[in-house]
Symmetry: C2
Subunit: 246 residues, 2 copies
Amino acid sequence: MARLVSNHNPPSPARQGNMLHLKLARSIGERILGGTHAPGTLLPNEAEWGRIYGVSRTAVREAIKTLNGKGLLVSKPKVGSRVEPRERWNLLDRDVLAWHCHAMEPHAFLMSVQEVRKIFEPEIAALAAVKGTPSQIEALKTAFHGMKMAKSAAETVAPDVDFHQALLSAANNDLLRPFGIVIEAALANLFSYTSAHNPYPELSLKKHEAIVRAVSRRQVEGARRAVHSLLRDTDSTIETARLTKP
Amino acid sequence: MARLVSNHNPPSPARQGNMLHLKLARSIGERILGGTHAPGTLLPNEAEWGRIYGVSRTAVREAIKTLNGKGLLVSKPKVGSRVEPRERWNLLDRDVLAWHCHAMEPHAFLMSVQEVRKIFEPEIAALAAVKGTPSQIEALKTAFHGMKMAKSAAETVAPDVDFHQALLSAANNDLLRPFGIVIEAALANLFSYTSAHNPYPELSLKKHEAIVRAVSRRQVEGARRAVHSLLRDTDSTIETARLTKP
DNA sequence: CAACGATTATTTGTATGATAATTGTTTTCA
DNA sequence: TGAAAACAATTATCATACAAATAATCGTTG
């Protein structure tokens, strides 16, 4: 019987990963993202999954339904569940992204994440400078204050995520919001990758402050540039971590 | 008993919307996106959904699992299924986006879509010009050829979608791919909104050709500008449609 | 021999009923 | 008053049966 719990994964405090069909979905999802089941191939049928994991077909089916909904699988009677081509995968889904980065080189993952961030985050800031409401800008300031108050590098992560999410909210475009999980993944992985070894924490703080200032003064181009500057710093943090590691 | 099939929705040829739990998911999903069930509120419990639609609890549960996976709901024993706050919704999911635009003013939807496209697509073209492989650029040319061959405005939609998807593929970044459904939604809705009344079809063709040229010649800034120019044209097409309608 | 049509077998889809686990609420008791 | 225990409502899981869809097989026929 296969393992369902990944014991080397102690984060996500009190998050609901206890339920059986969720554990199944995670396990099967990781297999797919990890390449054990290639796109276009057929998965074991439901009864067999049940045998493999020692659970009922009901639980298997609910897991499969979850994966269907995320674009990883399509199921048809008499044929089974087939892995969809990668371009159908909903990689901007929270779970799928987690399974994906689980199956990638941390450095390669961070690079592709940074590529995406450099595309949209400066524009997010520009939109926020134009359309952000006073209360949204206040939330941005609050998150920044939280970053200043952090005692350790580990404590910086949460308010840092809040900061970027607040910026995203201030852009006031629903379609942009799913990209928030890219930011979450970026910061979480960045922290674990650099092992809390950020060479210039106070510099990062200054850059964030510049963003707050530009957005609250409605300086569109300034906001864009401030975010871009922060992301270039992040790039070099990643690079130094890569050089000092192997 | 509520209706499950929306008879005014004849598109999606041969797509699998026949299965009960999918119809349920769509129906409940549209209710949520439409605002019938506000974020933070509790849904009817599973047994009651079964009574409402006249189906078994099994089908209801599988529908709920699908919606869970898309971030619209969380379910807990003894409490029920609660609608998640909007920022958790996975709006870049194909189904969720369809339900979303179903519940919005077409014009407002197209505007927010265009906002997002103007952020991403120029940079996607730039990446394609840098990283696109010869075969990917060939696919771009093929799609363009398909647009030229189209006899009517309706026939243009499919190769147009192919064109932008090919561009997206050529960018070679998995995290950008889910963005493709935004393009699909944009073009499909654009067509139905403007009622095939594109004032300058040959102009659009020229703009697409400029994109092909820039990308295949590896002109990064040129590709960026060509896409931006196309999107400005799309903006004005939307605007003229808005003015001639009401 | 080829093409087509009925048959069969396999897999998912749906229904039903029962039991377990979880957790908000209420009651009881110190 | 407060904590512990009983309760109740709801989802979670299981087992089983049958229905529906369809790929594959096998005849049948032209």
